[in-house]
């Protein structure tokens, strides 16, 4: 699948930057929009824009966390077909299982290792 525009929902500025940098290294043509938390993401999606082809969603965020946001996305007919990749520092099996049950397409634990990060991200874009 060809991706032109995606949405990253993450409150951490370092992580936002790192994600964008790595993404631009492997797919410089993909546009990455950013929301600082779940509510901001919903507001963005409800504004008159082109829908992203993938949503990367962090779990631990202020205002509206990842699970609440996921529930809203999957409960809305307009958005529910957009694949949601949970991108979290958590590798808690309980969180993973919960996210999967709520309809997340994939669970991506942010690796510490730069190369692994790059490789994982590359594979996700290949698969979705």
């Amino acid at each position: 699948m060809n991706h032109t525009e995606i949405l990253l929902v993450d409150d951490d500025l370092d992580d936002q930057m790192f994600f964008k940098d790595v993404l631009s290294e492997i797919y410089p043509e993909i546009k990455c929009n950013i929301a600082g938390h779940g509510l901001e993401a919903l507001l963005y999606l409800n504004s008159d824009i082109k829908f992203p082809s993938l949503i990367f969603l962090d779990l631990n965020m202020p205002v509206m966390n990842g699970f609440e946001c996921l529930q809203k996305l999957k409960g809305d007919n307009r958005f529910k077909k957009i694949p949601v990749i949970i991108i979290s520092t958590s590798s808690n099996p309980y969180d993973m299982e919960k996210a999967r049950e709520m309809g997340a397409e994939h669970f991506f634990t942010k690796p510490a290792d730069y190369l692994m990060y790059k490789e994982n991200l590359f594979r996700i874009f290949k698969n979705f």
């Binding site: 951490d12 370092d14 992580d15 790192f18 940098d21 790595v22 520092t89 099996p93 942010k110 690796p111 510490a112 290792d113 730069y114 190369l115 990060y117």
Partner: protein, 554 residues
């Protein structure tokens, strides 16, 4: 015939006539029964002739008397003795009749006898004497009556006092015993730590022991006979006074907390009915000073409360610590991950521009960050074992072992380790945690292998009873599954047996073996979560055996 001869004959005739007259009188006397016997002086010795008389009926009666009956002459010569006298002295009648009664008297009684005997001539006399015959002393009561003028002698009735005297001795010894016994009981009652008092039906004091007197600081004379309300007017409106009334009604009443008005002493007391011949005669009060007990109890309660507060505090601290270590390990990961990510990216993108030294430093930074990552991961896992409250599920441990082997496939293959595992039991465990335990133990077994020797890991399982677990305290009367993991690795000194389960304990230098020193702490904590035990046997160069004891369902 001459005159003189005639005179002699006349005198002889007169004498014979006189004799005849005497004999006539004697025969008359014998005939009318006023004479029992005749005593005839023969060569200075008395000779007695007993006579059958007309008062036969009286004789039979006298013979059958329980008391001894005698007739004696005025000199004390026995002319008649009934059979009771024979029995009294245990002698044949023939040896008694004709003897002087004085010969049967104890030497100490002779004087008294003589006085009595003399007195009897003018009527009657009575008194206690002691007979003595064949060495036997017999206490008797003697009553003497003059038989004059019909008979020149004295009638004597003798009552055996032996039994009475024995009775008297017995009674007096009984009295002595009773008084000794009473004194003893009084002493026991007085030495009792309980204050004991008794009251009659009107609640007047009838007795009181020393302890009670000491407690009241009064003397017995102040109290005995007085009404309880006279001594303690304030009692009238109290429950104790009611209890005394109830005791009079037959109830036993117990008070566990009577506080003395005068000195604050605390008592517990029983009020019991005093029952004599099934009739309530009064009240028994037994009170015990329990002041020290009450104070000690109060202190104990205070201490228990303090302990409870401390326990709650401790539980809070523990919970806080657990959540703290969870949050810390979780949050510590964030910046660390970023350090790793950014340094990794720099190394990847710009290492060509680095000097050799910079590149070396960067590699070291990344290695240090990775080591810290390991520590945090392990700490995280450790804290998670207590934070989570997972369910116990009936689990086939063989399945867990298969999962562990699969997840460690790479390590097992590269080290060419052999894992010899028989059939394991199916028991209630927290599956993820048991996975962790097996995984850590097998990981250790492979990690601490001997260089150039193929790791061989043998796992065994057996059901044992609690007595066979020596090292640690196990639940009594429970069966345990003992699961042992034995390796042929480098082993370690016995003294580290306990230490290796402590947090961050590492027995080997950093360079030789990687690790965080948390793995076995996690194992221990997980086994504790399962209410089990874990211990280790090891010897340097001889391999190591970890024993896990998990309670089996009974």
């Amino acid at each position: 015939m001459d005159h003189a001869q005639h005179d002699d004959l006349r005198k002889e005739n007169q004498s014979l006539n006189r004799q005849l007259q005497e004999y006539k009188e004697l025969v008359d006397a014998i005939k009318n029964g006023s004479i029992d016997a005749l005593a005839i002086n023969k060569n200075g010795e008395p000779e007695i002739f007993a006579l059958e008389s007309t008062d036969y009926v009286y004789r039979v009666l006298v013979e059958n008397f329980a008391e001894s009956a005698l007739n004696v002459t005025d000199t004390g010569l026995i002319v008649y003795a009934n059979s009771a006298f024979d029995r009294l002295l245990n002698a044949a009648n023939a040896t008694l009749v004709g003897a002087n009664i004085e010969s049967f008297l104890d030497s100490k009684s002779k004087k008294a006898f003589k006085e009595m005997f003399r007195a009897s001539f003018s009527g009657t006399s009575k008194g206690e004497l002691v007979l003595s015959y064949n060495g036997k002393k017999i206490p008797v009561y003697v009553s003497m009556s003059s038989l004059y003028p019909r008979f020149p002698g004295i009638g004597i009735i003798i009552t055996d006092l032996t039994e009475k005297k024995e009775q008297e001795i017995f009674t007096s010894s009984l009295e002595h015993k009773i008084s000794e016994r009473t004194a003893f009981i009084q002493q026991v009652i007085d030495s009792s730590v309980e204050a004991i008092s008794t009251f009659d039906k009107d609640l007047n004091y009838t007795s009181i022991n020393k302890t009670a007197l000491q407690d009241l600081a009064l003397s017995a004379n102040d109290i005995i006979g007085k009404n309880v309300l006279e001594i303690f007017p304030h009692l009238k409106e109290t429950a104790q006074y009611q209890s005394m009334q109830r005791a009079l009604g037959g109830e036993t009443v117990f008070h566990n907390n009577i506080i003395s008005q005068s000195n604050g002493t605390v008592y517990e007391a029983y009020f019991k009915p005093l029952i004599v011949n099934e009739e309530i005669t009064g009240v028994l009060l037994m009170a015990r000073d329990i002041t020290t007990v009450v104070h000690a109890k109060r202190r104990l309660e205070e201490m228990n409360r303090e302990l409870e507060v401390k326990n709650t505090e401790l539980m809070h601290t523990n919970t806080e610590l657990a959540s703290f270590s969870y949050i810390a390990s979780h949050d510590l990961q964030e910046p660390l991950r970023k350090i790793q990510a950014f340094t990794g990216r720099i190394l990847d993108k710009q290492s060509d521009e680095f000097t050799k030294t910079t590149k070396d430093y960067f590699t070291r930074i990344i290695a240090a960050a990775a080591a810290m990552q390991n520590l945090i991961d392990a700490l995280h896992a450790y804290s998670r074992t207590s934070v989570l409250k997972p369910e116990f599920i009936l689990t086939d441990l063989n399945q867990i072992m298969e999962d562990v082997k699969r997840s460690m496939q790479e390590m097992i293959t590269s080290s060419e380790a052999v894992i010899d595992c028989p059939t394991l039991p199916t028991i209630r465990v927290i599956p993820l945690q048991m996975h962790q335990v097996f995984s850590n133990l097998i990981n250790n077994a492979i990690k601490f292998r001997k260089p150039k020797e193929r790791p061989y890991i043998k796992i065994t399982a057996e059901l044992i009873s609690e007595e066979n677990i020596k090292e640690e305290v196990a639940l009594p009367k429970r069966k345990y599954w003992k699961i042992s993991v034995t390796d042929n690795g480098i082993g370690f000194e016995k003294i580290y047996g306990e230490k290796i389960f402590e947090l961050f304990q590492k027995l080997h230098g950093k360079d030789a073996y990687s690790g965080t020193g948390i793995g076995l702490s996690i194992c221990k904590k997980i086994i504790q979560n399962h209410k089990g035990l874990i211990n280790v046997n090891s010897e340097p160069g001889m391999g190591t055996t970890f024993n896990i004891y998990l309670p089996a369902r009974t």
